[in-house]
C-alpha cells in the first residue's frame, strides 16, 4: 500500500460508502449528503447573531451519533457534517455583518468595518459576493496547505519524537495556548489548570478514584460532554442572555439598506482583490496552524496588513479601509476562513485541538471510536491497511467536497440568509439551552450529568465575565489524560528517570520554550497594564 492507494481508499470511503439515494442510476453516498446538509446548516447558524459554528456542532453531535451509532461507518458522515458546519458558519457570519453591522460570528467583526459601509452605499450584494469569493478562496488555500503539511508533520513527529519529547510537546502546546488565548498569560494558565483539575477528578491508576471525596457521582469523573458543552455552550448562553437582560432589549426588526447600481463581481474586481486575498489567506493559514490562535486574531491581522498595503497602493478616488473598501471585506474574510483548514493541522498531526470547532471534531472521534487524531494516524503501513489513515484521507475528501459546494451554491444560499437577523435571541437561546441539556442527557442518561453541565456552565459564565477564555479549559480537559499517560510511559521508558524532560535535548527545548512563552507573555501583559 503506497500513499496513492491510501488516498484512493479515502476517496472511495466517501463516494462509495452507504447510499443515501440514487439519482439517474448514480449512487449518492450518505457522507456527501451529510457534508451538504452540514454546510447549509452552518451558513444558517453563522447568519444568526448569537449562534456560531461550535453551538451547531455541539447540538448536532448527539443527534448524529444517535442516527449513525458507534460504528466505524459513522465516522465519515458525522465528521463530514461537522466539517460542513465549520466551513458554512464562517461564511454565514459575514451576512449580518455586511447587511446589518452585526457580526454573525465573532470573527466577522472586522467584516462590519467595510462591509456595512458598502451596504450603506447600496452595494450590499457586491459586498456579499466579495465576502463569499474571498472566504471560499481562503478556505480552499488553507485546505491545500493542510493536505500537504499534516501528513509530513505527523511523520516527522513519529520519526523524531519519543515519549519524553511528546510529553514536552504537550506541555509546550498547553503553555502556548495559555499565553496566546485571551491576551493574559495568568488567566490562560488558570483556565488550563482548572481544565486539567476537572479531568483528573475520579480518574487515576489506583483503585480509589482520586479527588472524588468518596462521592459516588464523582468517582466516575466528569463526562467529557458535560465539561465541554457546559463551559463552551451553556456558559456562552448564560452570558448572551445576561447581555440581553442588561440591555432590556427586545430587538426591533431591522432591514437591510436598499441596493443601487452594479452588484456583480467582475473579473477586474477579482484581479484587484487577488493580492489582498492571497496575503490574508497566507496569514490566516499560518495563524490557524498554531494551536489556540483563533480566526478572530487572523481576521484582525489580515485586516491590519491589508490596510497598510492598501494605503500605499490605492488610487486617490478609492475608499480607505473603514469607508467601504472592497479590499477590507476581502482581507478579513480570506483570513478568517483560512483558519478552519489550517486549524486541523495540529489536530490531525499532533492530536492537539486548536479551536472550538476542532474540539468538537475530536469529541466526535472519541465518542464514536476507531479514529484517534494524532501522529499515529499517518502511519503508512505497506502490508496491512491502516484504517485511521483511510479515514484521514476521507476527511480530506469531505473538506474538498465542502469546498466544491461552497464555490457552487454557497454564495447563492449565503446571500438569501439576511432574514436570520430577525430571529429573536431571547426566544432562541433558552430553546438552545434546553436542546443542549437534552443532548447531554440523551448521551449520559443520568440527571447527574445535567447538574455537572450546569456547574460547568456557571464556571464558563464566570470565566467569560472575568475575561478568562474557556477554550484553554476545554483543550486542557481533552489533553489532560493523554498528558498524564504519556508522562507515565516516558518515566517508565527512561528507567524511572525523574529528569526525563531535561535529559533529551528536544524535550528540554520544548520545556524552555514553554517557560519562555509564559514569561514573554507575562511581561507583555505587565507592559500593557503599566
Amino acid at each position: 500500500m503506497d500513499i496513492l492507494d491510501y488516498i484512493w481508499l479515502g476517496i472511495q470511503a466517501v463516494f462509495m460508502g452507504p447510499e443515501a439515494f440514487s439519482f439517474l442510476g448514480v449512487s449518492v453516498s450518505v457522507t456527501i449528503m451529510m457534508v451538504l446538509a452540514g454546510f447549509l446548516f452552518g451558513i444558517v447558524v453563522g447568519a444568526t447573531p448569537g449562534l456560531a459554528g461550535p453551538f451547531a456542532m455541539a447540538i448536532s453531535l448527539p443527534i448524529l451519533i444517535s442516527i449513525f451509532g458507534y460504528t466505524p461507518d459513522a465516522l465519515l458522515p458525522v465528521m463530514g457534517f461537522l466539517i460542513g458546519i465549520m466551513k458554512g458558519a464562517t461564511i454565514g457570519g459575514a451576512v449580518p455583518a455586511i447587511l446589518f453591522n452585526t457580526p454573525g460570528t465573532p470573527d466577522a467583526f472586522m467584516t462590519t468595518l467595510d462591509g456595512y459601509p458598502m451596504a450603506q452605499k447600496g452595494q450590499a450584494k457586491k459586498a456579499l459576493r466579495i465576502a463569499h469569493f474571498s472566504s471560499a478562496s481562503g478556505d480552499t488555500f488553507s485546505d491545500i496547505v493542510l493536505f500537504v503539511c499534516a501528513p509530513f508533520l505527523a511523520i516527522i513527529v513519529e520519526a523524531y519524537l519519543d515519549l519524553p519529547e511528546k510529553t514536552g510537546l504537550l506541555i509546550l502546546s498547553l503553555s502556548f495556548i495559555a499565553a496566546v488565548i485571551g491576551g493574559s498569560a495568568g488567566k490562560g494558565l488558570i483556565s488550563i489548570g482548572l481544565g486539567l483539575l476537572a479531568v483528573y477528578v475520579g480518574t487515576g491508576e489506583d483503585f480509589y478514584p482520586r479527588m472524588s471525596m468518596g462521592a459516588e457521582g464523582l468517582s466516575r469523573g466528569f463526562p467529557i460532554t458535560t465539561a465541554v458543552l457546559g463551559v463552551l455552550i451553556v456558559g456562552a448562553v448564560f452570558k448572551e442572555l445576561e447581555e440581553i437582560w442588561r440591555s432590556t432589549g427586545s430587538a426591533k426588526p431591522v432591514h437591510a439598506p436598499a441596493e443601487t447600481g452594479d452588484q456583480k463581481l467582475h473579473w477586474a474586481d477579482i484581479k484587484n482583490l487577488f493580492p489582498t486575498i492571497f496575503r490574508s489567506a497566507a496569514i490566516g493559514t499560518s495563524i490557524g496552524a498554531l494551536p489556540g490562535v483563533g480566526s478572530t486574531l487572523a481576521a484582525t491581522l489580515g485586516y491590519t496588513v491589508g490596510r497598510a498595503r492598501h494605503q500605499k497602493s490605492k488610487s486617490d478616488d478609492a475608499p480607505d479601509f473603514g469607508d467601504g473598501a472592497p479590499e477590507g471585506v476581502a482581507a478579513t474574510e480570506a483570513a478568517n476562513s483560512a483558519v478552519s483548514g489550517a486549524n486541523l493541522i495540529p489536530v490531525l498531526s499532533l492530536g492537539i485541538p486548536g479551536n472550538a470547532a476542532a474540539v468538537f471534531l475530536i469529541l466526535a472521534a472519541e465518542s464514536i471510536g476507531g479514529f484517534n487524531p494524532g501522529p499515529a494516524v499517518f502511519r503508512f503501513s505497506p502490508d496491512v491497511v491502516n484504517p485511521e489513515l483511510v479515514i484521514a484521507f476521507g476527511i480530506f475528501t469531505c473538506m474538498t467536497i465542502a469546498n466544491v459546494i461552497n464555490w457552487t451554491i454557497g454564495g447563492v444560499f449565503m446571500r438569501s440568509m439576511g432574514f436570520m437577523i430577525n430571529i429573536p435571541k431571547t426566544l432562541l437561546l433558552p430553546a438552545v439551552l434546553l436542546l443542549t441539556l437534552t443532548a447531554i442527557y440523551v448521551q449520559e442518561t443520568r440527571l447527574e450529568a445535567i447538574w455537572f453541565a450546569l456547574g460547568f456552565g456557571v464556571l464558563g459564565y464566570i470565566m467569560r465575565v472575568l475575561t478568562i477564555s474557556p477554550l484553554p479549559f476545554v483543550i486542557a480537559f481533552i489533553l489532560g489524560r493523554s498528558l498524564e499517560q504519556t508522562a507515565r510511559q516516558a518515566y517508565s521508558a527512561t528507567g524511572n528517570d525523574p529528569f526525563f524532560l531535561f535529559n533529551s535535548p528536544i524535550a528540554l527545548i520544548f520545556i524552555l520554550m514553554s517557560v519562555a512563552v509564559i514569561i514573554f507573555s507575562g511581561r507583555k501583559s505587565k507592559g500593557a497594564a503599566a
Binding site: 443527534i63 444517535s66 442516527i67 498547553l174 495559555a178 498569560a185 495568568g186 488567566k187 490562560g188 494558565l189 488558570i190 483556565s191 488550563i192 489548570g193 486539567l196 483539575l197 483528573y200 487515576g204 491508576e205 489506583d206 483503585f207 480509589y208 482520586r210 479527588m211 448564560f238 442572555l241 445576561e242 427586545s250 437561546l429 433558552p430 430553546a431 439551552l433 434546553l434 437534552t438 442527557y441 440523551v442 449520559e444 442518561t445 443520568r446 440527571l447 445535567i450 450546569l454 456552565g457 456557571v458 459564565y461 465575565v465 472575568l466 478568562i468 486542557a476 489532560g480 498528558l483 508522562a487 518515566y491 524511572n496 509564559i518 507575562g522 501583559s525 505587565k526 500593557a528 497594564a529
Partner: protein
C-alpha cells in the same frame, strides 16, 4: 466616577489560595498514591502528581495576575447583579428539571387513584404520553421561565416558545429513535 474594578487582584488571590489548599490539603488527603510511589522495588508516578501539576498551573496563573496584571486597565467586574441573574436562571433550570423528574411518576400516582390495578412509572417510561409528561412540563417551564427573566415579564409568547421547543425536541430526539431516553426516563 465609577470605582475601578480590581478583579485581577481578587481572582489572583483566590486562585493562589485554592491552589495551596489543593496542593497541601485536598490532593494529599483525597488521593491514595503520592506524587511518586515505590511499587515492586521501582519508583512509579503516583496519582497525586498530575492534579498537583494542574494546581501548579492555577498557582502560577494566580501569581502572574498578582505580580504582572494587578493594575491592568479595564478590569472586568463580577457584580452582584450578574450573580443574581445567573443564579435566577440556574434556579429556573433546577426547578424545570425537578418538575421533569417528578411530574411523570406523580401523574401515574394520580392515575392510580382511579384504577384498580396500579401502574408503575418505571414500566411506562417507554410508553408515549406517559414518558413525555415530565419533559413537556419541565421543559416548558424552563424555557418560558428563562424568557420571562430576560424579558422581565411572563408572556404568552414565552409559554408558546417553551411548548414549541419541547415539541420540536421530542420530534428530533424521541420519535425517530427507540433507544434514546428523554430526561428523566434514564433515572426512574
Amino acid at each position: 466616577m465609577p470605582e475601578k474594578s480590581r478583579s485581577n487582584l481578587y481572582v489572583g488571590l483566590f486562585c493562589v489560595a485554592v491552589a495551596l489548599v489543593l496542593i497541601f490539603i485536598w490532593i494529599p488527603l483525597d488521593t491514595k498514591t503520592g506524587i511518586v510511589e515505590r511499587a515492586r522495588g521501582k519508583f512509579v508516578i503516583g496519582d497525586a502528581l498530575a492534579p498537583t501539576v494542574a494546581a501548579g498551573f492555577v498557582l502560577l496563573g494566580g501569581l502572574l495576575l498578582l505580580v504582572f496584571e494587578r493594575n491592568a486597565e479595564d478590569q472586568p467586574a463580577l457584580g452582584p447583579s450578574k450573580i443574581k441573574f445567573v443564579a435566577s436562571v440556574v434556579a429556573v433550570i433546577g426547578v424545570g428539571f425537578a418538575i421533569m423528574r417528578f411530574a411523570g411518576p406523580a401523574a401515574v400516582e394520580v392515575a392510580n387513584l382511579f384504577r384498580e390495578d396500579p401502574l408503575e412509572y418505571r414500566l411506562l417510561r417507554a410508553t408515549p404520553v406517559w414518558k413525555h409528561i415530565g419533559y413537556v412540563m419541565g421543559g416548558t417551564i424552563m424555557v418560558s421561565g428563562i424568557i420571562a427573566i430576560v424579558e422581565r415579564k411572563m408572556s404568552r409568547r414565552a409559554v408558546l416558545t417553551g411548548i414549541a421547543a419541547v415539541v420540536v425536541l421530542i420530534a428530533v430526539f424521541d420519535l425517530p429513535f427507540d433507544d434514546l431516553l428523554l430526561p428523566p426516563n434514564g433515572d426512574v
